[in-house]
């Protein structure tokens, strides 16, 4: 009880990383410290979508693409984000500010389409407000 599981440890490593990911050297450290084979660590880390083994941007944008958001044109939101950021889903901007990801469901269906940037939720997102949101997050206003 009260002992940290491998998932808890990986959360900690990732939260402590400036690039929002778990590097191989960090994974090796966890492996040594907890006497867990590296393969097992990668088994867990690649299983869960909140973990990344690739460096990511300072901010993670997660767009919900559940059925309710899909019905509220989540595709267009993703399209506008791609256009604004100049990247595809799964990629990071050149200035390492943003990584664009999809989420299976953010649990914000009543305010669809929804997205989250880091831990800030955005509901009833309108395409036109996306450049403004991006600007604000980048400027540290949100």
């Amino acid at each position: 009880m009260k002992e940290r599981s491998l998932i808890d440890k990986l959360h900690e490593v990732q939260n402590g990383s400036k690039e929002n990911y778990i590097s191989k050297s960090e994974a090796l450290k966890v492996s040594k410290r907890s006497k867990t084979p590296l393969a097992e660590i990668y088994g867990v880390l690649t299983f869960y979508t909140l973990f990344s083994e690739k460096p990511r941007g300072k901010h993670i944008i997660r767009v919900c693409r559940s059925l309710s958001c899909h019905m509220a044109d989540a595709n267009k939101i993703i399209g506008k984000l791609k256009e604004t950021l100049g990247i595809n889903v799964g990629e990071t901007t050149f200035d390492k500010e943003f990584t664009l990801e999809e989420s299976s469901c953010l649990g914000m269906c009543s305010v669809s389409p929804a997205l989250m940037i880091d831990d800030i939720p955005f509901g009833n997102v309108e395409i036109d407000e996306i450049p403004e949101i991006i600007k604000k997050v980048k400027g540290g206003e949100l």
Binding site: D8, S66, M71, G107, C109, S110
Partner: protein, 545 residues
């Protein structure tokens, strides 16, 4: 305790906070002082009021008026006109739902009046971050009563109430607790499944954000009845506000002696820890969830043995959904006979639903079991938007069932729904109008399962991929008529041979739509026509439909 003439509740959930609900609250406090009303009007934050679409909402009691959306510039006017002079500001009480539909303030009350609130009894009425607020609404009296009456009495009462699990399977909760209570192991666990990942479902989030103590109390009572010494709340990593409110609730309960050692002088020791998930739908499956708490990949275990006898770290473990646990305190407090006044035989009590899709009103609702689906759609949901016709309803989330308008009068309870091969499932109700493309809906659902299959068993890992690919061909105009048979066959294979519930239910909506909307599928294939104009029917279409 001070008595106030007027109580003002500011809805502060994760969305309204973003829109500046906290600033509105502070502004109200400032204005109240300005007008010298601080001894008459009480301002307090609360959870969601159920009006999710409207920005910042406040409720004024005893009048029961809801103002939404409230902007900064409105605050002074509300204080001056309503709180000082007692005049309701019709202008602000009227425009809900972004002006699409005009709902009067009395309609706002009607929405609550159409519901029966047991689970949501405190949501939108108390400050979720105040344990005293919860205690003021008779909170933790059910725990006292449980300790006085003993664990056997608790289990008997829950068995008598015929409370069924609200996570989807509907297993009798009292019996589940009894299994674990009878297990002889000195170490036992209780887990609350708050990994609400079913697309279209967000009821547990509203419960946890709006009334976290009712969940804590339900868990302590369940633990007491089984003599479990430690509890985990396994919650989605995305639910930040729920996590922080639950953490505060746990700490407050501990400092009040309601958690920890020798709870209320009973000699019973119990504590709760929050385990944050890392994003995997499969972890809603109870044994996959257990694996995840242990820090492993969330892959389901072979059953039997079942968790009540062999669960977390091989110990007897009882797992319940948030909503199930929140039902426990009112049952204990008021008795099983009281509880059975709600609902119908076989499904007593109420059910919380997440209502969404092409409806005039979306949000979280609670109704007694046995309420017809048509009542939920038309009376509570205000019918289909823009006066369109209803095409279908997805009930119980994307692993649930597809209901046609002809089946809409079916009462929502376990037995009635079983007659149309459906169930309340996770409590998601997604309505869609006549202009939606059923193939596109099926494709979105197939995409979801393809991504969320954990990969442990072949039928699900390969089958969900194939189902998606075939539907994708069809939406590009490359389908063949034989594909429909293949989809049906794949559906059967997944249902019969998948290792766990995920794979077994993944093809549900796809297969049901083949039978219920056959012509539309055939049109896509034979005429390369999408009547809704959603499917592009060209090769260039990007792959994220």
């Amino acid at each position: 305790m001070k008595i106030y003439r007027t109580h003002v509740l500011v809805a502060e959930d994760n969305k309204s906070l973003l829109k500046g609900a906290k600033e509105i609250e502070e502004l109200f406090i400032k204005e109240i002082k300005e007008f010298g009303l601080e001894n008459e009007v009480f301002i307090t934050p609360t959870g969601s009021l159920g009006f999710e679409d409207v920005g910042i909402a406040i409720a004024v009691y005893p009048e029961g008026i809801v103002y939404a959306p409230v902007e900064k510039r409105d605050v002074k006017e509300i204080v001056k006109e309503h709180f000082l002079k007692g005049r309701v500001i019709e202008r602000l009480a009227k425009t809900f739902l972004k002006g699409e539909v005009q709902i009067s303030s009395t309609k706002a009350e009607q929405i609550f009046a159409t519901q029966t609130r047991i689970v949501l009894r405190n949501v939108g009425l108390i400050n979720p971050e105040s344990i005293d607020d919860y205690i003021g609404r008779d909170g933790y009296t059910a725990l006292e009563k449980s300790i006085e009456s003993g664990p056997e009495w608790v289990i008997d009462e829950l068995k008598k109430s015929e409370l069924k699990g609200r996570g989807g399977a509907g297993f009798p909760s009292g019996r589940k607790l009894e299994f674990t209570a009878k297990a002889s192991d000195p170490v036992k666990y209780i887990i609350c499944n708050a990994d609400e990942g079913e697309p279209g479902t967000f009821k547990d989030r509203e419960i946890m954000e709006g009334d976290p103590h009712s969940l804590i109390e339900g868990m302590i009572i369940a633990a007491f009845s089984t003599r479990a010494s430690y509890g985990y709340i396994y919650i989605r990593g995305e639910y930040d506000l729920s996590i922080s409110r639950l953490e505060k609730a746990i700490n407050d309960a501990r400092s009040y002696g309601l958690l920890g050692e020798n709870i209320l002088g009973s000699g019973f020791n119990f504590d709760i820890e929050i385990k944050k998930g890392a994003g995997a739908y499969i972890c809603g499956e109870e044994t996959a969830l257990i694996e995840s708490i242990e820090g492993k990949r969330g892959e389901p275990r072979k059953k039997p043995p079942y968790p009540p006898t062999c669960g977390l770290w091989g110990k007897p473990t009882v797992i319940n959904n948030v909503e199930t646990l929140v039902n426990i305190p009112p049952i204990i407090e008021n008795g099983a006979d009281w509880y059975k006044k709600f609902g119908v035989a076989g499904s007593y009590g109420t059910k919380v639903f997440s209502l969404m899709g092409d409806l005039n009103w979306k949000g979280i609702i609670e109704v007694p079991f046995g309420t017809p689906l048509s009542y939920i759609i038309d009376e509570i949901g205000g019918g289909v938007k823009e006066g369109k016709r209803l095409k279908g309803v997805i009930l119980g989330g994307v692993s649930g069932s597809l209901i046609t308008p002809e089946q809409l009068d079916t009462p929502v309870d376990f037995n009635s729904l079983a007659t149309i091969e459906a169930g309340p499932g996770s409590g998601a109700i997604i309505a869609f109008d006549e202009d939606r493309c059923i193939v596109d809906v099926a494709k979105n659902i197939a995409y979801f399962f393809r991504h969320e299959s954990c990969g442990k068993c072949t039928p699900c890992r390969v089958g969900t991929e194939q189902i998606y690919e075939i539907i994708e061909w069809i939406t590009k105009g490359e389908g063949r008529i034989s594909d429909l048979d293949t989809l049906e066959k794949l559906g059967d294979d997944l249902k019969l041979t998948s290792f766990c519930g995920l794979g077994q239910t993944a093809p549900n909506i796809v297969v049901q739509s083949l039978a219920k909307f056959t012509t539309e599928w055939i049109e896509h294939i034979k005429e390369k026509k999408c009547r809704a104009g959603v499917c592009q029917m060209t090769l260039e279409e990007v792959k994220n439909g």
